[in-house]
Amino acid sequence: MRWFRFAVLVFAATILQTSLVGMISFRGVRPDLLLILLVFFAISIDPRDAIVASFAIGFAADLSNPIGDLMGPQIISFGVFGTLLSDVHSIISIQRISHQAITILIVGALTALLSYLLTLFRAEQVTAHFAQQLLWQPLYSAILGPFLSFPVAWWMRISRKGRKRRRPGRR
């Protein structure tokens, strides 16, 4: 895992997320680049690295786009579902573009839901755009995500075939 490249990529994604991504917003709905990166790394790198990468992306998400001025919910939700996705990918291959899109949609909805629930612990008011974050943003990300995985894979020098599934019985 090339962590320096990873850091540059995540940082660039957070910058883009809060700036130029607004150009391609549709009725206020923007794709979540960090969600796309989360799914990409969860299914492309070593499970151990995927855990750190997932939490790191969640941290970047909380920095760049905090929910109700609160940090932490996205670190946890991204970390949990990134790790879970990495484990699932060890059993079920997620290589096809359509599968990746569906994965982004599901993981996006789940992370938004968990972030929302975690935010309720601390914040008195939760974002009013919950429906947008739960459905439309993951949907937009799912449409765009599989195509963005090509340049990301090139940057990270990761083979598009991704990591091999773990064989049953092998540690």
């Binding site: 700036s19 917003s25 855990i51 750190v52 786009n65 905090p66 946890i76 601390r122």
Partner: protein
């Protein structure tokens, strides 16, 4: 280093990261806010030069922080505006008090008297008593004279902690020592129904005409100088006793229009 890294189990790694996330989540917002602010400062030079149109619909963390600050400033601004409004109201009230007391002080003979301004809280429907918002704590006592529009309108009859009742000169039980016109003839003005009063026992030899002023008599300790209280509404020979005049007077002050009065602060009657 790599060897040590790989020794950490995935479960432990996940636990550590999760713990880190929980710590960040439950950390004081002042600390996490600094993190967001630091990120904003790092990010700002990279996006500062972009076209404003690109920012459409985007709320950056800095902007969010600024918005939060703006909301706080707006709240503080509103609070201060309310405070200013209250002060303006108090200033207006103080000016009214100064104006009223200034008019009272404009009479040189009243210089050595002490006055207390009071607001009228209630006037009875029969216009024979009124209540003021001053009481024992303000030094108001039974027997003190009360003025309205620079004329005596009545005497304090009951006092409570923060309020007092003023018996007006038209009250049926009111008896105020007066003098009529320029004569020093002491008489007692008695209240009558219909917002009027009578001054009985005035000899028919006195020339009392309509419009003659009736003064509250000087009462040392209570009223140091005579003050106008009423004017003669009607003066005629008493049909029952032709040697006397039947004098009907009315207050020179429009009681119903009063919103504030002045209590003459003198020693209460024993």
């Amino acid at each position: 280093m790599t060897q040590r890294w790989t020794r950490v189990s995935r479960r432990m790694l996940f636990t550590w990261c999760l713990l880190g996330g929980l710590i960040v989540m439950f950390a004081p917002s002042s600390l996490t806010g600094k993190l967001q602010l630091a990120y904003t400062y790092v990010r700002w030079p990279l996006v500062a030069g972009r076209s404003p149109s690109l920012a459409g619909g985007i709320v950056s963390p800095l902007q969010a922080i600024r918005n939060t600050g703006t909301e706080k400033a707006a709240t503080e601004h509103q609070r201060l505006m309310n405070h200013i409004s209250n002060l303006e109201s108090q200033l207006k009230e103080a000016r009214q008090e100064i104006d009223q007391l200034g008019r009272v002080r404009a009479v040189p003979q009243w210089d050595h008297m002490t006055f207390l301004r009071a607001d009228v809280t209630l006037i009875s429907q029969t216009q024979d008593v009124l209540f003021i918002n001053r009481g024992q704590k303000d030094g108001v006592a039974v027997g003190q004279y009360v003025m309205g529009d620079l004329s005596v309108i009545g005497i304090v009859s009951n006092v409570w902690t923060r309020t007092a009742k003023v018996k007006l000169l038209t009250d049926l039980t009111s008896k105020i020592p007066v003098t009529i016109g320029e004569s020093d003839l002491p008489r007692v003005m008695e209240g009558r129904p219909g917002n009027v009063a009578k001054v009985p026992l005035v000899s028919a030899s006195y020339a009392v005409t309509k419009g003659t002023k009736v003064y509250a008599k000087k009462m040392p300790g209570l009223l140091d100088v005579p003050i106008v209280a009423a004017e003669v509404k009607e003066s005629r020979i008493d049909p029952e006793n032709p040697s006397l005049l039947d004098i009907t007077v009315r207050p020179v002050c429009e009681i119903t229009a009063l919103t504030s009065v002045v209590v003459i602060m003198s020693a209460p009657q024993p």
